[in-house]
Symmetry: C2
Subunit: 234 residues, 2 copies
Amino acid sequence: MRYQLFYWTGIQGRGEFVRLALEDAGADYVDVARVHGDGAMQPFLDGAKPGVTPFAPPFLKAGRQVIAHVANILHYLGPALALVPPSEARRLQALQWQLTIADFVTEIHDSHHPLGGSLYYEEQRKEAARRAEAFRRDRLGRFLGYFERELAAAGGHHALGRHSYVDLSLFQLMRGLEYAYPKAMRRQARKLPHLRALADRVEQRPNIAAYLASPRRLAFNTQGIFRHYPELDG
Amino acid sequence: MRYQLFYWTGIQGRGEFVRLALEDAGADYVDVARVHGDGAMQPFLDGAKPGVTPFAPPFLKAGRQVIAHVANILHYLGPALALVPPSEARRLQALQWQLTIADFVTEIHDSHHPLGGSLYYEEQRKEAARRAEAFRRDRLGRFLGYFERELAAAGGHHALGRHSYVDLSLFQLMRGLEYAYPKAMRRQARKLPHLRALADRVEQRPNIAAYLASPRRLAFNTQGIFRHYPELDG
């Protein structure tokens, strides 16, 4: 199966969580917008294709199926890419992890866009300063502490006791936060030994290491979800 | 199977999307916190139970499984309650709908809490006024227009061409928004014939009508997701 991934060019964004799974598994896929431009997504977003229209990228085309939302795509890909334990109960656990990660990703994004995505950062800097302060104080440690404890409870090495797409997403989360909030993350570091070790191990997986060294891995920047604005880092 | 639903007392909140599915299907369930108090959830949230700890309510206990996140719970319950078409492809479509609804629910919540849930509304009224304005202008019609078009494309009667948990969630979304943003919703009404008719049909389903007339259905209030603050309604 040759998968077609559709996501905005120029940023890692939410698409990166899917990309990491495809890369880690050595899957055959085309990153369609990077080849044909963002316009290639429009007919899908306009509802001109069969099936349920994606509300937004990322979405994946697999044969005739079009699947949107990161957690849904990974839920679908998990068994085919051997990136989830096969039982239904374990797949639900993976989906639960991924949905908690998705909620955290939204809060990370909103820390620089508290008034929503329809205004530029520059139009909401004052509000972002207040939101980012609350984020660093009340949410960052709460989410990461939760993931750290769950990881420890699962044996310390893998979110689901064995390698899965959840580990890949946790790696992305850690690297994104280390980029966006370096000072706040340095204050968290001591409390997150399992998460940090997991991120390091994922980074050394051969397919991931090759991907990270390739031009396919874009650098973090101030257009994506994880943005480094020093004024938001305390 | 007797299901145990865990969610905060006193509000409909995110738990209501699960409750509507259980009620519509006439499932055997206990709304645990309403019987034993919110404290009954704490051992689960503290990680003192087997399995993946819920990050937050709602969560469902089904036999020995504990499942968190609305979309995950409905994905699990769908087949057992005959509230989703049985094929894997259709289940993924239902999950995609539900995840888009979940994103919208988060934006609806954030329209009154743009700086996050760790501050009271009264501490972020000014920011909420700006966010709600952007929400009414850029997001409300965009999400509802998307759902209306997808509903029309599916034949106009059901999100998935037949009754499913998605229809129940769309009903809840419409009633919640009509409570929270009555003026903005009156301006949308003409453009949403299918969504409005669907909400009316869901409301008349015998089990839903009985539920809505029962004391189990709490009234909308200014503690939940859908809050009516006249100053945010333009």
